[in-house]
Symmetry: C2
Subunit: 350 residues, 2 copies
């Protein structure tokens, strides 16, 4: 079996992280790299600062790269939204590539964009390839991990999960979308005008959970509240004065028959330790049995997203054709051996 | 679509629990029940004390039940071991039934019994049905849950997990196999003579993890040590004096290239609270990133095993033919809606 050949589309922080991980993996060959700005016309290995060439020149012409490279799979890390992602995915699928996207909305695209989801499913089905959206969240902590835990329950009444994380390592774009550094009036205006968005992915996580356990959601309510800091706080790209906004406490509540059955909270802030807040991922299931889980500190978002996107390659390459979600595929797992053997194993069992 | 029809084989504590759960589920019909002693010739509903008849008489002639009932799946809860389980599984498969077994060794039968695993795989493949072994442990806590967490890691150096549970609710058979109430000399003799066995399933969990992440295990070492109590302890079926054995601390270590990469600990004891021991399920992964997870208290074994065995029905009914493990199938999930819809969903995506 030849190496699994991969095209990387988008070489920001996430795409670059994927490239570094894949460059280490046995049985994987990075066959192409598409990016508009950051590393254009450089060798990918040099662009990443790996100290060695990878023999892949970064190009901005996606059509040309996908035509010239006979890739098994394309990993796309360009956007959070289906509307921007769909044309890219359809282009890769058109060239017979399987696709993994880390666009948050792609983790359950039918939630925001049912028609686009159907178009992508049909295109993938016709071409005999698989499309998957994944990442740490949505994609794992507030959906797949919860779903897996319910597997140990004979019934579930209610799910309450919280992902409490630290925004300190992130750059200016994240600070703006979370409202970090604003005052409370600016924060409220930013929410109204859609410049402060909080977390993208709650609706998708809700749908993943509800579909998996067999609940029909009749409503999802979201609230975004400023986390006003009582202390000065320091992140890598920003300093927040006391009295200013250190982050956004974004909450989503899912209802079945008028009863709140899923509550997901994601308070994201710079330097939570300054306020005595411990980061972590927390899941509480009220059911038979009750389950109370804590992961402390939280699984870091960037590393986790890179891991999930690269680790799901075998399931997607070997999976049946169509648009899939994390509900549909065998459990994710790290890949310490030859990735081709994992692909072959899935080809036998799927 | 007709209800999914289920035959239950074995109506001890686990099989009875499955019957009670399945009697509540929409889209499931209990079509037959096989047991040798406890409920023979009774209506299953009366035997379970449900206060209503289920219209299924418990019989001891497995061949007759399987011949007369055109079941989709047979749930087998009769033994821990492949050697005793294989003839039962082959009988059900021979009648065209999918099979879920909670025999601990069936969670990865190739570990203890590679030839039996191959025979069962071939039989299932020829008949177009699926066989799965599952349960809380092996099957979930010390394998599937660990595997899923590694999915958020770009690499893993070492895995250390502990399941600290309370044997207090269990009966005399469990007390004997764990050596509860013995003195230290009796415990050592019991270990030597194979009457005290500790946990059944470590080798299977090791193989599930190693196969999933792509490690080739060269050795699994196990130790079983007495937990001698400094306090008197009380369980439902036994009282343990101070100085006597309250349980068995069973540990397994898996090596790759001479390096210990997986450590699984399962100290099982009566009334751990008397010694100040908090029960819980704990997973520590050293990798990129490190992950530290705690579930407190532990997910209860009996309820969890009943849940996993009944919750995996859709994956097994819809899955491709052959002998599968939890590594091969979509993540487990509870079933709060019509089970037929979950089966149909899996038939579309698998």
């Amino acid at each position: 079996m030849q190496d699994i050949s991969v095209v990387l589309w988008g070489l920001g922080a996430m795409g670059s992280g994927m490239a570094e991980v894949l460059a280490q993996r046995e049985g994987i060959r990075i066959a192409g790299a598409i990016d508009q700005v950051s590393m254009l016309a450089k060798d990918l290995g040099e662009g990443l600062g790996l100290g060695e060439k990878l023999g892949v020149v970064v190009r901005d012409d996606a059509e040309a790269v996908l035509s010239e490279v006979d890739a098994d799979i394309c990993l796309i890390a360009t956007t959070s939204f289906v509307a921007e992602n769909e044309p890219q995915i359809l282009k890769a699928v058109g060239h017979g590539c399987n696709v993994i996207s880390i666009a948050e909305e792609m983790s359950y695209p039918a939630a925001s964009s049912p028609e686009a989801a159907e178009r992508m499913h049909q295109a993938a089905y016709r071409k005999g390839v698989t499309i998957l959206g994944t990442g740490i969240n949505p994609g794992f902590i507030l959906d797949t991990l919860i779903v897996a835990l319910t597997g140990a329950c004979s019934s579930v009444e209610r799910i309450h999960a919280r992902r409490v994380n630290d925004l300190s390592p992130f750059g200016q774009t994240v600070m703006q979308t979370q409202g970090v550094g604003t005052d409370i009036d600016e924060f409220k205006r930013g929410i109204q005008e859609g410049e402060i968005v909080g977390h993208v992915g709650f609706v998708e996580s809700m749908h993943l959970i509800a579909e998996a356990v067999g609940w029909e959601l009749d409503e999802v309510k979201q609230t975004r509240q400023a986390i006003v800091s009582e202390q000065p706080r320091t992140g890598e790209s920003i300093t927040v004065e006391a009295g200013k906004v250190a982050g956004c406490n974004h909450t989503a509540r899912g209802f079945v028959g008028g009863r709140e059955v899923i509550t997901l909270e994601h308070p994201q802030q710079v330097d939570p330790g300054a306020a005595g807040v411990e980061t972590g991922d927390y899941i509480e299931i009220a059911g038979i049995p009750d389950i109370s889980l804590a992961i402390q500190p939280e699984i870091p978002g960037g590393i986790g997203t890179v891991a999930l996107a690269t680790n799901m390659i075998p399931q997607v390459v070997a999976g049946s054709a169509g648009l899939k979600t994390m509900n549909d595929l065998p459990v994710p797992r790290t890949l310490m051996g030859d990735v081709r053997r994992t692909v072959q194993k899935f080809e036998q069992v799927l």
